[in-house]
Symmetry: none
Subunit: 132 residues, 4 copies
DNA sequence: GTGGTCTAGACCACT
DNA sequence: GTGGTCTAGACCACC
């Protein structure tokens, strides 16, 4: 799996990493039980510090997306993804609200906005799984 | 208009301010041409630093949501809201993508996600405009 | 509040810090809303690195014991302590089980063990709040 | 006796092994003088490294729970379990204290906490000894 | 001033 | 080899 980081972004590097791995899972490119590179190898591959990778992995572990298997390394949670919990739902709605509000100001109709979301949904799910 | 700030939030205060004003515009509670409180009075009203309000107003001005006149003070852009520009579109899609991806991982179907967005849309637009 | 660290302990320093702060809250020496020293000052006071303090604070924040107020610094959660949740309950029972088992092997009766726990409970709660 | 290991746990595997054997003794499923599997066979049974089992056995021996004979192999200490020594007492209290403190913060009364400990005590002692 | 992030390098426990 | 911890020093955003 290719990791694309924007070092100029306002988003912390570890957050970008977390997002990309979640997108990888959502798209099916990363499957439950599949191993992830070690902290050190991923860090050297993408040219960042191992602590930054570690922070991303730790957050993914706390949220239940991955397991950190002692000495076997890191794997995508083989059993189940974290559920649609109430705290998560609130977090999601809180993130969505300002985005929707700005879209409304800028003239997007409800239909247009839903189409936009639908397209993003399909882009993620239909990502060609053969391409890595 | 009531401003609700969460001092524990990870979002900077000025960003929360920006978001709330944009939501006010989206909901219709704030209308084009309508005056906003001065930096000084808003800051003292909600008990935050002048600089923080100033930063929020500056960003809103840069994005085209408000005008800042030397004498007339601050008003909602009376002519037109900023449009659905290409850079904004990219920004929006970049923000939406990780949210959608995580929702997919957590088991949301496309229909459920669209309903969620639709509900948020309606909540913003249908906010009772009588209540301030 | 005095922090006592054992640099030779098997427990990570940041865990010892977390424990001591939780004990401080349990004993009433640290009250809801009360400020905690800044990362830097606490680190220099007890002679450890600021990142270690930061890690402890971050964990306490995630567990809901403290709030990290932007720029105001760190305060004990003024509203409510984290509840007796199911995951916590499981964690607690998992920690308690091997301790109880070993006590049984070493000849402790149920009554003796309960007295031990009771004494610890009282020691924490009845800590003289005048002494700091 | 069935050994249940959690490879995702933060506890080292050898510690989990030690705990489970102590629980086995506490519950009566493992009786004084009873033989334990050899390092080699236990390791292959539960699919872990020889060294890991060895480390667990070594710790149990040091604490006085088992004897390791050159010929007879490993047996539960036939004479007497280790006593309620002063160093052990301190260790136990040190482990108990943060658990009790957190329970207090999370709203457990002394009675509730004692009931919790009592229940764990009974669960260990009353484990059906017929089931292995 | 505050906390947050990133880097760098070291040591350790575990397997 | 793995991840976990600690230290050190730097820069940044926020207020």
């Amino acid at each position: 799996m290719i990791i694309q980081l924007d070092m100029q972004s306002e988003l912390p590097i570890y957050t970008q990493l977390v997002n990309q791995i979640i997108e990888g899972i959502a798209s099916g490119r990363l499957k439950p039980g599949e191993p992830l590179p070690s902290v050190r190898s991923l860090a050297s591959d993408i040219g960042i510090n191992l602590h930054t990778v570690n922070k991303a992995y730790t957050q993914l572990k706390q949220d239940g997306f991955i397991h950190i298997h002692r000495q076997k390394g890191v794997v995508i949670n083989p059993d189940q993804m974290p559920g649609f919990t109430e705290p998560y739902k609130n977090k999601m709605r809180g993130e969505l609200k300002p985005i929707v509000a700005e879209a409304i100001c800028r003239g997007k109709s409800q239909e247009q906005l839903l189409q936009e979301v639908e397209q993003i949904y399909r882009e993620i799910v239909h990502t060609d799984k053969e391409i890595e």
